[in-house]
């Protein structure tokens, strides 16, 4: 089974702090994604990566950056956390080979910015 592991289930941070959310997958997937999920808005893509050291902006990249130094690890960085970044953050991965982008998700990190 695919396993996508997010380092924290719950995080509480202060406004202005730099926040790191870590995600690791164990299935040798090339693609990795970061989403946020908010009531009434569903899943919104922040950033994704097709390969090591590669990154692409999603629909809502402002206020975020990412790092992909190793194939299995994709980090989401909030440079200066703000209260409107309080949300559920979901990491996903998928294979590059094949014709379908079936994404497998981690359990999520619920971030509260105070």
């Amino acid at each position: 089974d695919v396993k996508v592991t997010q380092s924290s289930r719950y995080l509480v941070k202060r406004t202005g702090e730099k926040v790191f959310l870590e995600c690791v997958q164990d299935m040798d997937h090339e693609n990795m994604f970061w989403y946020r999920q908010d009531p009434g808005l569903g899943l919104r893509l922040i950033y994704f990566s097709y390969d090591v050291k590669m990154k692409e902006k999603g629909d809502i990249p402002e206020g975020y950056s990412v790092s992909r130094e190793k194939k299995e690890r994709f980090s989401l960085i909030l440079e200066s956390a703000s209260t409107n970044q309080t949300s559920m953050y979901l990491c996903a991965s998928s294979l590059k080979r094949g014709a379908k982008n079936i994404q497998y998700f981690g359990a999520g990190t619920r971030l509260s910015v105070l």
Partner: protein
Amino acid sequence: GESVGLHLPTLSVQEGDNSIINCAYSNSASDYFIWYKQESGKGPQFIIDIRSNMDKRQGQRVTVLLNKTVKHLSLQIAATQPGDSAVYFCAEGKGFQKLVFGTGTRLLVSP
């Protein structure tokens, strides 16, 4: 558009009934569709997918029906169990373009 959490359409069924969850998709050029299940406090879990050249696909207790004429997708769950209670949402994809996630439906199963 997508919606998870507040103001979700809700389907309430009795344990043992069959459930049908619907999804309207937007892109007639999408070439596959995916159903996800998301339990409270957890990440979305892949259930089943179907290619656009198929009308029906069956899994364990689940069946996906695809009607391309009206751009409609449904997920049928046989003999629904309390453990099936969750939010279900569909996603459409074309090759390796980013997935587009559909409106979620909350399924409530009463014992």
